[in-house]
Symmetry: none
Subunit: 217 residues, 4 copies
């Protein structure tokens, strides 16, 4: 700000920096708790505590628990779909490779991140927040399915894949992905080891099964 006082310029405002960061910290804490315990069973004081602030501070940034919840959904919904669509559009390899690539990426960019909890959260709370469910439907589900349908259609047009119902195929390709994150945030924490398949191994086999299941013989 001022070249004459570089010392203070380095620490412009500890408070101000926190203020910038607060909403994000609160949203992160809220996502984790809402996913774990559900909306109703999560107390705002817990969210605040996990974000390292007091109850009152939360309400400086979000006017109510419900608005906090909506912000959590909006913040995390549909951030990765757009990226993925662009990548698919320019892909030049075989459909088998594309499907494997897509499934792998889905895991590294969404399924394996904390943001994936949103999937379980929406599933659990859809009936209590119909407008959010609709929003998620529009912003995440529809674009994702459209993307998968496009991949399959590309394979059909390239005569690599059988001529199947695109909508059904999309559901069957997506289902194990969704199921994987749903499981990760619900039963998995209760069921120690052994029985949980390694996500990447599961996804590799899923890609393999899909390719075999769809390929033109």
């Amino acid at each position: 700000m001022d070249a004459v006082t570089p010392l203070t310029a380095a620490a412009p405002a500890k408070r101000a920096r926190r203020k910038q960061a607060r909403p994000g910290e609160l949203l992160e804490a809220a996502l984790a708790l809402f996913v774990e315990k559900g909306y109703a069973a999560t107390r705002v004081e817990e969210v605040a505590a996990r974000a390292g602030v007091s109850k009152g501070t939360l309400f400086l940034y979000f006017p109510s628990k419900e608005e906090l919840f909506k912000a959590v959904v909006r913040e995390n919904a549909g951030r990765h779909v757009a990226d993925a669509m662009r990548e698919v559009a320019g892909y030049t390899g075989t459909s088998a490779e594309l499907l494997r690539e897509f499934i792998q990426r889905w895991w590294t960019q969404y399924g394996g991140t904390p943001a994936a909890g949103l999937t379980k959260l929406i599933m659990s709370e859809a009936a209590n927040f119909p407008d959010l469910a609709q929003y998620y439907q529009d912003e995440v589900v529809q674009p994702s399915h459209a993307l998968v349908r496009r991949i399959v259609q590309r394979g059909i047009e390239r005569r690599e894949l059988r001529d199947v119902d695109l909508n059904l195929a999309a559901h069957l390709i997506v289902a194990p992905l969704v199921q994987l994150v749903t499981w990760r945030f619900s039963m998995a924490p209760c069921c120690p080891a052994g029985l949980l398949p390694e996500p990447l191994a599961l996804l590799a086999m899923h890609a393999d099964m899909v390719v075999r299941g769809l390929r033109r013989e």
Copy 2:
């Protein structure tokens, strides 16, 4: 109630019958509401009202909301798995037929019934009721997966199917089934028509994909 009025004499019998039925009616009502709104957001008074009794009556049959919830889970968990295991044991047809048969039956006997809401319910509440999650794991998930593994193993032994990882295969076969009911009780009510695939068509294609994906070429 009054010996002078024989017209009402029939009542005690009817009431007795109702009395017998009460717990079942309450469990049914509770399942539906817990599935729809979640445990925390469901009020016991709603459950009682839906079962046609008063709030106080519910507490005559279940000592607390939590015990009601546990009863709901115990009542609905694992009723169908044992039957299915017996049927598989005596099956004589091909693996393709067996897989199709299994998937169809799963839908008609569980996935398409109100009891399937339990799957979504457990997903949503597992973290809040770890012992119930464990119970469900032991009574439903493990037996179901074991059953599916047995089907696949039978196919491998009969040299109809490839030699795949049984555990991964079981997860991939089950995932779309679980996903179907999860969806049915969460997003589906919000997303009118068109986009929802017909369950039986979806399951038929799933069976087809699984057979193609696993068969020995």
Copy 3:
């Protein structure tokens, strides 16, 4: 209910009888406290305690503090005006007697009762509850002023009173009455004895002054 069991008929339901009385008891308690401390400074728990019930019970009868407040106003507003209007309509004496009668009655039927606190309450809270202020205006103020204007007009028509502005006269006749109750519920409790004029003496002199001030000389 049943002539054969007169003993139980005498005590049909202690609970039920309380339920009947509860809203009235709560309204009475609320009126007293709202008048004394104002709406914002009165805690619902105090109201409940004064009515002899717990916090939760209050909310069985009134959905919110604000609705309780509105019920208090509606319950107490304008109950006496209609009676007074009927009496004035049939009066046959002189205007001096009528004015004295009116003022005396106002005190015995409203100004001296707990319900008079409503006047101070509305004064204090009008800006925070504009719709209630309007309601009070319509149900109490306007009818009361109309009644007083009618009394004065009758006197003018009978050539007992001077031909004055009816609206101004009404305000000047009413002002000391309102002031008396306002004082009674605000300063009076703080200013012990001596300085407080005897209400009936004050009202008698007021009536006298009004008659002298309005009479045709």
Copy 4:
């Protein structure tokens, strides 16, 4: 702030002037808001905002909301009574003229000014702040009533007025004045036009009524 920038050198002076004025601006803002919404319903942040400063600044000048309130009352109470007493002492005209003069002056110097809101404020909050009510009683009510009693007594001694109870007469003379300001700050803002009498016309008629009501016939 910076000697190198003479342009801003004027600022300290301006700010100093503001600093001097701060308490007054805050008291003015507080009076208006306390009158309008009551003590409890007024937030200190609103007071600060109306005075053009931040919440924290208010607490530099007043240690608490309650002290701010007390300062508001002390600042506005009893400023005009002393002046009026002096004027009455040297008056040489008739009692009728004196009463008219007194009532007119009361309006121009108090009743028509923002400070008159204090009357309504004290009335509303007396029970919550008994010591302030006492203070107001001592500093404003008693002196005012004493002044009015003196005016009436002077008229009696000059054989212009009847020999009435001085205390009652004072209450009846003051009541419409108090009522006028009370109304002005409570119901008036809700009741658009038409029905509100013109203050000066009302006061003129009041003076007229008082003179007629008290004069020796």
